[in-house]
Symmetry: C2
Subunit: 286 residues, 2 copies
């Protein structure tokens, strides 16, 4: 029996979830809803929330109250535990499961960080992002007066330090030096090495590629110099969409096991994210 999944929000991520659902033999797409659609008649096992991140909590509450599992890629790191706390009693009361913060960071990177911390408990993990677009910094750059369009690229410099390359398309008559000064003083940029570059078209630079270089040098028992590295270069929305489909599978399985509640990815057994029978998966992956 296929998992019946609905997609809420149809931007980059919603479209990527659609592609991942269509490529998954165990999934059936029951509907795509724009984020201002009426959701009263949704009939699905699980809903993938692909709305802007700040709208996730309200949609999750609404659907969980109807017993529909939800998955999201809520990405405000400092508020993830609070969202889990907010949604847990609702999910439990309505016998549903919600998997939150399920993208690549937070998300699959979080699972790697948890694993590496377990197997080399003392040490430092550095997560280096990019090269790739930072949504938060791009939005902050676009908000500067005189900026018509902007793109803020994150460049990894190692040990979790990043350079910001900010490409700016000016509004007619705007002065570049003034815009640059305002941007460099903005709290989003004031603490990192930032370069502001005027360009004739920001659209011409559009690229959804992103990357991660995650490093841990730690201690297992009394043994130092245990070194681990996780790298990826990926299409950002495609990976996020695929992660959402993977955790949708996990949510439905945990509901079937009556393990109701709200979970981050580090609370999920990796095998729950995979289709197919247990024996084949264990024989091929372990």
């Amino acid at each position: 029996m296929k998992t019946r999944i609905a997609i809420i929000g149809y931007g980059n991520i919603g479209k990527a979830v659609e592609q991942a659902v269509l490529a998954a033999e165990d999934m059936q797409l029951v509907g795509i809803y724009h984020h201002n659609d009426n959701l009263d008649n949704i009939d699905a096992d699980v809903a993938a929330l692909c709305t802007p991140t700040r709208e996730v909590p309200a949609f999750a509450e609404k659907l969980l109250k109807r017993g529909i599992c939800t998955v999201d890629s809520f990405d405000i790191h400092g508020q993830i535990y609070d969202l889990r706390k907010q949604l847990t009693p609702i999910a439990k009361e309505h016998q549903a499961v919600s998997v939150i913060a399920a993208g690549w960071d937070p998300g699959s990177d979080s699972m790697v960080r948890a694993l590496l911390t377990a197997i080399a408990p003392k040490g430092i993990t550095y997560t280096n992002f990019g090269p790739g677009r930072s949504m938060g910094h791009t939005v902050a750059a676009k908000a500067i007066p005189g900026v018509k369009n902007a793109l803020s690229m994150t460049i990894p410099l190692g040990t979790g330090i990043h350079r910001r390359m900010v490409y700016i398309e000016l509004e007619d008559g705007a002065d570049f030096a003034t815009v640059e000064k305002l941007l460099l003083a903005d709290d989003y940029f004031a603490h990192d090495e930032t370069h502001v570059i005027p360009v004739p078209s920001v659209d011409a630079l559009n690229n959804v590629a992103h990357g991660v270089h995650l490093v841990r040098d730690g201690v297992s028992g009394e043994t130092h110099n245990q070194r681990f590295e996780f790298n990826m270069t990926i299409n950002n929305p495609a990976l996020t969409g695929q992660v959402l489909v993977a955790v949708a599978r996990a949510a439905v399985r945990m509901k079937a096991e009556q393990r109701f509640g709200t979970f981050t990815m580090i609370e999920i057994p990796p095998i729950y994210m995979l289709p197919g029978d247990e024996e084949t998966l264990i024989r091929s992956l372990v």
Copy 2:
């Protein structure tokens, strides 16, 4: 309350588990038993089985029947599912939890493979081992007539292809050319590029370093060229010992949740392997 852990078997791995237990604030070492000791009076929450791999099933059965959880690093890939099947009913009947095949491969690498398969479902994963000693190949080399001592190193050539560098200390009067011919014809070596090198002392080459270079190039949804890489260079027994302590924690927690049975690492939520409170772990790792 600390987890009370016993160590069965006191070779390289047993000693590494001891170090990892002593470094863990939530663990209490209740005893170390050589693998021919009488185990009738063991009183522990969980036992780390650090015996030769072929002795693991019998020890696991015996302890599970007394309701003691077990963890092991059973490493015969083709028999892991069978061991799980053998131990599952025993663990369930006696309300215990067994975590099997918990080292680094099988083990932590398995979790990475499962995660990467979930987030890029189509594609190929190559696990490249080494440089490091292969136990199986070393034992096979030692069994060749005329060999006094041997060391078989695994050298990664990429795409899962490995070179074998076999260092041989000859018995007095043995003929190197004859030993080399027998070794190259052995089924352990016949299928890989193998170099046999005579040395005056194999002990002088002793080094427990090992490594992994795991690569997946896969497809998320309809998007190809999603590239992932997991590398590590590690002290082999130290990492295995630490993994065993991490899954001991998970076993005890799953028992407390009455999720009795036998599990491989891909069936365990990563957070269960970590000490400390949920909120701190989620806030720092997700």
